[in-house]
């Protein structure tokens, strides 16, 4: 049984057939109407993104599929690419038609190199069926997709860093604006969408915006694919409507009784048991789909230590708040573990975290202190005045 009921129930290429018969503005309007927001975590409305790229004037445009899934606790894109790659390629082709792009690029993370042969085979099959290449299904649309392998950098999940890598540079995020929809890969307008977003767009094309809008909440429409790991009975990939509460979710995955839940991966928020009635949706707790459950026996400082080591390692080093800030927070956690951190210093670290959120150049530095700040806020009694025996 496939773990993703909705994706499995889609008729192959029905969305593409419909899109090929529609005009460009109609496709974009349908996606806009659905209210689909980016599934990578940032939640930018997909219809708007396509519209900007469609409006940009250029001789060449690109559709880039962001398969550089690196957020700790996220593995949904791997499952989608393994089981529903055709839906993703279909979504890319639809996007290609919508914005008038001729080339699609899948940026696949280096850790998923083992997926490449099966993806190349799927692409070859589509070319043979006339679903890619020149004059797709006799509609006059030219579009082809190639795969670019990443080389092991978390930061390349950020869209401008990803484009830098595609162009052969260090994966250092660019200033925005200009946004990739105007000045992207090779200076051409480029749409960068998450794997899941593209698959969802193909579903919306097939079943219509109204079907999609009937699920989820008013501001966060549709369903979301979640990657669930940690201290629960049934970890794995799940499909839930947006707006599900943390408590309902724990019920489903046999994780009831958890001490805390990390929503949105290492750069997300740490939700304590007292707030399990909150909803997972863009208007409450935003997420790219990563849910990590912490049982009662987990030490939150160990968790923070792991997260900050990750960020120190993965910071690209370009801007100071992120490069030095994460190191300072890590040192702070080590002091807390040893029971040597004064309240005044802890407050200073929190102020540093606030500064990083404001002053960092890209999403990595802006969100890396979130876990630290939410643990300090929600688990303060656990942090202070440790003795050596607890280390």
């Amino acid at each position: 049984m496939s773990p993703l009921p909705t994706f499995s129930s889609m008729a192959p290429e029905a969305g593409l057939d419909r899109a090929l018969a529609l005009s460009r503005p109609d496709i974009i309007e349908e996606v806009k109407q659905s209210g689909l927001k980016g599934r990578g975590g940032a939640g930018f409305p997909t219809g708007m993104k396509w519209n900007f790229a469609a409006a940009a004037q250029a001789d060449e445009k690109f559709i880039i599929c962001n398969a550089d899934e690196g957020e700790p606790g996220t593995f949904k894109d791997r499952v989608i690419l393994q089981d529903h790659a055709d839906l993703v390629f279909e979504g890319m082709t639809i996007a290609g038609k919508a914005v008038n792009a001729q080339e699609g690029i899948v940026f696949l993370r280096g850790e998923y190199t083992y997926l490449r042969p099966q993806l190349e085979a799927a692409l070859a099959k589509r070319r043979k069926k006339g679903l890619l290449g020149k004059d797709i299904l006799g509609s006059g649309l030219d579009f082809d997709i190639r795969i670019f392998m990443g080389a092991g950098a978390y930061i390349c999940g950020e869209e401008t860093a990803l484009i830098e890598a595609l162009e052969g540079f260090r994966g250092e995020p660019r200033n925005r604006p200009p946004f990739p929809v105007n000045t992207g890969f090779l200076g051409r307008p480029s749409v960068v969408n998450n794997v899941e977003t593209l698959a969802c767009a193909a579903c919306i094309m097939q079943r219509g915006a109204a079907w999609w809008k009937a699920m989820g909440t008013e501001k966060s429409t549709g369903f979301k694919v979640f990657s669930i790991s940690g201290d629960c009975g049934k970890p794995g990939v799940y499909e839930f409507p947006m707006g599900i509460t943390v408590a309902q979710l724990l019920q489903e995955v046999a994780g009831v009784g958890a001490k805390a839940v990390q929503v949105g991966g290492a750069s997300g928020l740490c939700i304590p048991a007292s707030q399990f009635s909150r909803a997972i949706a863009f208007e409450d707790i935003p997420t790219g789909g990563s849910i990590i459950v912490f049982g009662q026996h987990r030490d939150m400082l160990d968790v923070l230590h792991n997260f900050l080591e990750f960020f120190v390692d993965e910071s690209c080093g370009q801007c100071t708040p992120c490069r030095l800030g994460n190191g300072k927070l890590l040192e702070g956690v080590e002091l807390l573990k040893e029971g040597k951190c004064s309240m005044a210093y802890l407050q200073e670290l929190c102020a540093l975290g606030d500064t990083m959120q404001i002053a960092s150049k890209c999403g990595l530095g802006q969100s890396s202190p979130s876990a630290f700040l939410s643990v300090v806020k929600n688990f303060r009694e656990e942090l202070m005045g440790r003795t050596y025996s607890q280390v």
Partner: protein
Amino acid sequence: MLMTARERLAREIKALAEKHGHARAALIPIVQEIKHKYRKVDDFAMQVIADQLGIHPVEVYSVVSFYAFLGSQASGKFIIRLCRTISCDMQGKERVMRQMENDLGIKFGETTSDGKFSLEWANCMGMCDQGPAMLVNEKIYTHVTPEKVHEILEECRRSFGVHATEQKEVYLV
């Protein structure tokens, strides 16, 4: 390096540049192929790549050193990357690490003296529900336990070298 080996490497890089193009965007694919074959990208290789793409070698170095998979010093035939991120950490990566180090007699970040195995850490590799996870070259292993470590290492040994009993090399999956 022998002159002939250098010439061969230069020829290969030139062929790769023909295949991927001489534009800057070809840099990472070329480096990936050299890295995959030779397990390292040395100064000479970087110089030839730079010449082919018409950029300064320091530009090549800056890119190679930025990416974990390109700049890594691990040069073993089998590069073992154990995931150290939170979910694998909570599922016991520490004990797997200890057993790896014991079985190979090296620490993480080192290569065995026979050049067969390198141990490295990796950040989240998207197997959080099946941890602890690790990559051996491009092949993924999940639910790794300290007891399984020996069998995985033996599988590698069986697949490579004069005493190989299995045809397929693990890294060619």
